[in-house]
């Protein structure tokens, strides 16, 4: 599966600053192929997350197109695009993301249960073991630390065996050992044929990446 962005831009209107237009991502072309782990680095506010969210189908670009193989993902209806994302993309968002009313295991299984796929409980347990929080499967998100929550969202992003994985600062709350473990997992995922886009500040991540880009004031450079 090939992800291709053609001349995409994203601008925001800043209500607080006399409604001036702010260009978060300037015109950019980008390609991500299966088996690749591509890292995007850059300082905070440089447009990395905006770029990732556009590629993941979560934020419509102001201009340009994003294709997965030959399909323009923003030409799809919302329902179709959502299902497409559910089946083909895994997203590890920034911050701590968990549904408070569900246990860790149930949180990981959301992408499957959402569309009636009930048979992945065993796989979910394995993923939780792999990210090191298997014993917390019956805990609720409010009982978890920031790092544990991050690992839960990694397991959730992998549960559907996605063809494209978007990871936005996946090691943000992790210690060195766990950071390496997550980076190894992402590398392994790419080696298994998945296209992985990693947005991070982590210097160590470059060792695991096939390509490293830098985002500077909305401009993506090698």
């Amino acid at each position: 599966m090939i992800l291709k962005a053609e001349k995409i831009t994203r601008q925001y209107i800043r209500q607080s600053r006399n409604k001036n237009v702010f260009m978060a991502v300037k015109e950019t072309d980008f390609t991500l192929e299966g088996g690749q782990l591509v890292e995007i680095t850059g300082r905070s506010g440089s447009g990395k997350s905006t770029f990732l969210n556009m590629l993941a189908g979560l934020l419509a670009p102001s201009s340009g197109h994003i294709f997965v193989d030959d399909t323009d993902i923003y030409a799809m209806e919302d329902k179709e695009r959502s299902r497409f994302r559910n089946l083909n993309m895994g997203v590890i968002p920034q911050g701590q993301t968990g549904l408070q009313s569900l246990t860790v295991l149930e949180n990981v299984l959301i992408p499957c249960k959402m569309y009636g796929d009930e048979g992945k409980e065993e796989y979910a347990r394995k993923l939780l073991d792999y990210v090191g929080i298997g014993e917390l499967k019956n805990a609720y998100p409010n009982e978890l630390s920031g790092g544990e929550l991050r690992r839960m969202s990694i397991a959730r992003a992998l549960i559907q065996s996605p063809k494209i994985l978007f990871a936005d600062e996946p090691t943000g709350d992790l210690d060195d050992e766990n950071t390496r473990s997550v980076l190894r997992l992402l590398r392994k995922t790419a080696d298994n044929g998945c296209a992985v886009l990693l947005v991070t500040h982590e210097r160590e991540a470059a060792e695991y990446a096939d390509k490293v880009y830098r985002m500077n004031d909305g401009v993506l450079t090698m």
Partner: protein
């Protein structure tokens, strides 16, 4: 749908206080609609029943009826009362021009009959002239009401042997009447001979209330039907001018007083219901908007893992629908608990005829109240659902980062 329901139930379970508060609000909606509608319908039906039972154009009572217990309180609230006038007034009324039929009634009050837990009013009528009670009785009893026979209202409990004893007078219960929602439900009906015998027995037993009254020479009220070509008001005026010591009142004015009371009570209930609805709907709306705001990030997570905008709306609306259904069922149940066991108390408190509608209508109102409340509760989540559906996930995640 299964996922939406499961998630909604889990959310409700994890936040029991919030869920309980929302359910209570939803319950208020159903309770106010059901209880309000039932009270208004029962009052209207009671008034219709009272109109039918009163049946006369003019009611004439002695002046003393004002002090010894008015006809209204006897007929409407079932408060036993008695008052008497010389039967010569009946003869005079009968001969007034414009009076087509006049029939006397005789009232005897009984504080305790040994048969009933409630005070009993005994009403005597004259079978030869009666045009009010016998047509009504004929719906339950086709025979004649002979000496010693009584017919009882729906609230009187009848022993298995059908025998009741009033003031040492053995009576045979020949029929029981349908409910009217008025004081007539606690009344006992007998012919003139029987009721006058009761009074004589009461006097013999030493009941001083009836001292100095010659049962054979008095009546309590005269019910009048006006002949064609005469106006009720004119005939009533004529009687008041020509027959002293009595007061003739057009029955319509008695009813109109009740009608006014009914419309006042209905108005108050209507205003209260509207106020409860406005308040509950506003609070529910705010609550759902707050829930949506509180869970913006959660909804963004659901979008990230593949939920469509429609699915998010369905999740939120399933939750509000479940809360509304549970609340409406509880509210309607509470309404039933208030309406049915306290029918008698309501009638006494309101002082108006009060007759519950038939079971079919009650079930219809119950289903309607639940349906309206569920719909209202479900609709209150509309704003929050729209807000959630309109959010751009990427922006939510960016704001939160």
């Amino acid at each position: 749908m299964r996922f939406a329901k499961e998630l909604a139930l889990r959310n409700m379970k994890r936040k029991p206080m919030r869920t309980a508060a929302l359910i209570i609000l939803a319950a208020f909606l159903a309770f106010s609609v059901f209880a309000g509608t039932m009270i208004v319908m029962s009052l209207q039906r009671g008034l219709e029943s009272y109109q039918t039972r009163l049946g006369a154009d003019i009611v004439a009572v002695p002046f003393e009826a004002r002090t010894k217990g008015s006809l209204d309180s006897i007929l409407l609230q079932g408060i036993p009362g008695y008052f008497y006038m010389d039967s010569q007034y009946y003869e005079k009324i009968k001969n007034t021009s414009g009076v087509e039929v006049a029939t006397p009634q005789f009232y005897l009050a009984l504080a305790s009959a040994g048969c009933c837990s409630i005070p009993v009013q005994i009403i005597g009528f004259e079978p030869e002239t009666d045009f009010l009670i016998q047509p009504w009785i004929s719906q339950s009893y086709s025979g004649t009401v002979g000496d010693g026979d009584v017919i009882v209202g729906s609230d009187i409990s009848v022993p298995l042997n059908h025998q009741l004893r009033f003031y040492d007078t053995d009576c045979n219960v020949v029929a029981q009447l349908d409910r009217t929602g008025t004081g007539l439900d606690t009344a006992v009906y007998a012919n003139m001979n029987t009721i006058k015998q009761m009074m004589k027995n009461a006097q013999a037993l030493g009941f001083h209330n009836f001292d100095g009254i010659n049962a054979d020479k008095v009546v309590s009220s005269v019910m009048i039907k006006v002949a064609e070509g005469y106006t009720i008001e004119n005939v009533a005026n004529d009687i008041n001018i020509h027959v002293r010591h009595i007061e003739a009142t057009p029955a319509k004015s008695m009813i109109s007083g009740i009608g006014e009371g009914l419309s006042n009570v209905s108005g108050i209930i209507g205003i209260l219901t509207v106020m409860i609805w406005i308040l509950a709907i506003v609070i529910l709306m705010i609550a759902f908007v707050m829930i949506a705001n509180e869970r913006t990030k959660e909804f963004a997570v659901l979008r990230v893992v593949g939920a469509s905008r429609k699915m998010l709306v369905r999740i939120l609306r399933t939750e509000s629908a479940l809360i509304s259904v549970i609340g409406a069922a509880i509210g309607a149940g509470a309404g039933c608990l208030m309406i049915f066991p306290f029918t008698g108390a309501m009638r006494t408190r309101l002082g108006l005829p009060y007759l519950l509608p038939p079971a079919g209508v009650i079930i219809g109102v119950l289903i309607g109240a639940i349906a309206i409340s569920v719909f209202a509760g479900w609709m209150t989540s509309y704003i929050s659902a729209r807000k959630i559906a309109g959010n751009e996930t990427g922006l939510i995640l960016r704001e939160d980062a």
